[in-house]
Each structure stands twice: as structure tokens, then as C-alpha cells.
Amino acid sequence: MTRKKQTIIFLALIFIFLFIYMRFSGRHFTPEAVLNANELGLHYGPSEKVLLKYHGDENNMLVIGKVDERGLSVIPAKRSMLVFWKLEGGSVPGYIGFDYPDDRAKANYSSKYSLIYGITDLDEAAKADVEVIYKNNNMSDFETAGEYSMEIDGDGFFFCAVEPVDNESWYYINKTVIYDKNGNVLFNDIN
């Protein structure tokens, strides 16, 4: 076989191997592609836009997309072999939407990234206050970890990085309050 033919075969094999690797091991070139692939795999979306790519460290990232006015797409991504990104193992939030038809906002907490994030469909919404509570095996009841105030952007999205009390406790959102620019309460949800 001539060298030219061998080279063509090698180049074809490189393409095939890379395709198999990327397709069957869930690798992608960007974190956004990881988001899109998992939205389809979990049968929701696709997201209208990516709202936030929040770095845990340089090799992992929480990708948050806006599915619609009432729901977010939250997928953790992790760098792989320097140039690829893939779904990070562990808990995958996926679709985070309003719990009930009357709800006008939803906030959630990521323990791995120590991040509060949420969305509201109220057009006048300007600010969100969120209370986070926590509990561990040494505690008899939940206690407040902190109350956080954050701005709401034009997509109704809000987020805030927090400093956790410790790494052994479980953290939850206890209260979400949405205000307009004048400080009037538009929505109040206590869990």
C-alpha cells in the first residue's frame, strides 16, 4: 500500500476514533455543548440562552441556561483531557422550575459550588432576598446559614456566591422574597 493511501487511512481513523470517543464518552468542545446534550438527554429545553457559567475551579463549571420564564437548566460540567468538557459526576440538577402553578419565583442552592441561583417571571422584579438554612448530624434542627440579597437581571435571573458554614451540612433555601425597584414585595415564598 502506498504511503499516500496509508496516510488517508490514518487520517480517517483519527476522525473515526475522535468521533467515537466524543460521542460515546459524552465529551464536547464547550461547556455549552455539555448543557445542550444533557438537556436533550433529560428531555427538556433547549435553553433560550446561557445565563451563567460559574467556575468552581478552572476545571469544573456550573452551566445555567434559561429554559423559559419559569425554569432554569442547571448542568455541572468538567474539563477532560485538557481540551474537552463532559458532564460532571454526582448530583445533576437538570431542570429547575417553579414548584406550583401560583409560584412566581424559584431559588435553589448548589452545595458543590456554594451558589444560590434562581429565576422569577415577574417583569417588575428588581431584587431577591434569599434565606439559606442548614443542618448536620450534630444539630437537632435547621439553623439559618445566612440571608442574601441579590439583583435580578433582565432575564429574571439572580445568583449569589455564599460562604458555607461548613462542608458537612445540608443546605436548603428556606425563604425567597422578590421586590420591585421601590422595595415593594412582589412575591414571598417560605418553605
Binding site: 504511503r3 490514518f10 483519527i14 476514533f17 470517543y21 460515546f24 446534550a37
Partner: protein, 236 residues
């Protein structure tokens, strides 16, 4: 650096070939050619050193031959060939776990197809032709098995398009079952891994008054709907 040949002719030819990784192969071929010719000359009585000298002379102009070989052994193609060969070998070794995993998945799929839903111990079976596509997943509801104790098994296959855009997650119809009387059934059961998966959703205590099983999957704009007549004269 030690020359690749004892023959000046060969070394002069090689001086024109820019892609040095082919020098050893070219030198070997030219050396053999000269020595074959020298052997023939020695058979006619010429001594060895004279025979080799004559054989070298019969080979032709080393500069002309060198230039021609340089064109044939293109440095660009040579480098692409060499690098792509290394990449293929490296990729093959590196991706061995992925290949094995994919192979196992394919083997599991073949096993699933062979075994199907497993042994059927139901009192009666109703065949259905409900099917649909949710993103990259094709769903085929094949049959419903009815048991005397009021339980029913919904047997359906899912086929994940291996060349689709989605990450492969398992798919389940659990939570999508109801009857025409409005009773809802969650379902729990078994499924097999693989590109083709055989799933069984066990619905317990299906209402004896209900005649129809309804599959109503409606999730984020994805829908799959179908009715299966389980009892009555028209039930299959």
C-alpha cells in the same frame, strides 16, 4: 554521524533526500541492489572490491537519482504520514477504555434483543402498536401482560440513537399511566442497559372496573399518548 552505507554512491543519493526518516529504507534497498550486481560480477571471475566498484558505477548518476527519490519521498507527506501514524496508535491506546465500554454496550444491546422481555407468566397478553420519538429516543410499547392478582406489566422498548446529539440517559414511562376512570398508576420495574433497552413497568392493583390503559407522557413539550383496550370484546 556514521554514514548509512559503505558506498559513496548511496551516501551521495541520500544527501538529496530531505526526509531523513526514509534514509534507512532507501539505503538498504540501494545497498542490496549494488551487492546483487557485485555478486553477479564476481561469478564471472572479477574480484570482490573491483566488482563492487563496477556495480557502483553501473547504478547511474547519484545526483539525478537522489533528486528523483527526494520527489518520491516527499517530506510533507512523510511528516503527515509519520505524525498521523503516531496519533492513531496513541488514540487507540488512550481510547481503549471507551472502545471496551462501547463494545460492552453493544454486546449488552445484542443480549437484550436476544432475551427480550424474559419469560412471560401472565394470564393474558394484549399486543399494542403505540410508538413515538422523544428527542433521540424511539419508544415502542409492545405489549401489556395481565395477571390474575390485578397487576399488569407494560412492556416497551427504547432505542437511543447512538449518533444523535443527546447525552444518553435512561428513559422511563413510569408516572405516565392512568385508566379511563381517572386512576393514576406510577409503575416500577426493570430495564436493561444498552442502546436498545427492554423495559417493564409493573402497575399494581389495576382497577378491575377499568377497561383501558392510557399512556400519557407530557413533559416539557414532549408528548407520547396512547390507549390500550385491555378488556372487552375488542381487546386483542
Amino acid at each position: 554521524m556514521r554514514p548509512l552505507s559503505d558506498y559513496d554512491f548511496v551516501n551521495r543519493v541520500l544527501s538529496h533526500v530531505k526526509f531523513k526518516y526514509d534514509h534507512a529504507e532507501i539505503a538498504k534497498e540501494l545497498n542490496e541492489h549494488i551487492e546483487d550486481m557485485a555478486d553477479e560480477l564476481m561469478k564471472s571471475g572479477i574480484d570482490e572490491s573491483k566488482a563492487k566498484e563496477m556495480a557502483e558505477g553501473f547504478m547511474g548518476d547519484p545526483d539525478e537519482i537522489g533528486e528523483e527519490l527526494n520527489r518520491e519521498h516527499s517530506a510533507v507527506l512523510g511528516w503527515v504520514w509519520r505524525i498521523s501514524r503516531i496519533i492513531v496508535i496513541a488514540l487507540f491506546i488512550m481510547l481503549m477504555p471507551t472502545f471496551l465500554n462501547t463494545g460492552l454496550l453493544a454486546a449488552n444491546t445484542a443480549l437484550n434483543v436476544f432475551e427480550g422481555y424474559g419469560e412471560n407468566e401472565a394470564e393474558s397478553v394484549v399486543k399494542t402498536d403505540i410508538n413515538g420519538k422523544i428527542d433521540d429516543v424511539y419508544i415502542f410499547v409492545d405489549e401489556v401482560r395481565l395477571y390474575d392478582n390485578g397487576n399488569i406489566d407494560v412492556c416497551y422498548r427504547t432505542l437511543h440513537n447512538p449518533f444523535g446529539k443527546s447525552q444518553i440517559w435512561s428513559f422511563s414511562l413510569n408516572g405516565c399511566f392512568k385508566d379511563e376512570l381517572g386512576n393514576k398508576y406510577y409503575g416500577g420495574g426493570s430495564s436493561s442497559a444498552g442502546f436498545v433497552s427492554y423495559n417493564i413497568s409493573r402497575l399494581e392493583n389495576f382497577s378491575p372496573e377499568a377497561k383501558e390503559l392510557i399512556i400519557d407522557y407530557d413533559y416539557n413539550g414532549r408528548k407520547l399518548y396512547g390507549k390500550i383496550l385491555l378488556r372487552g370484546d375488542e381487546a386483542k
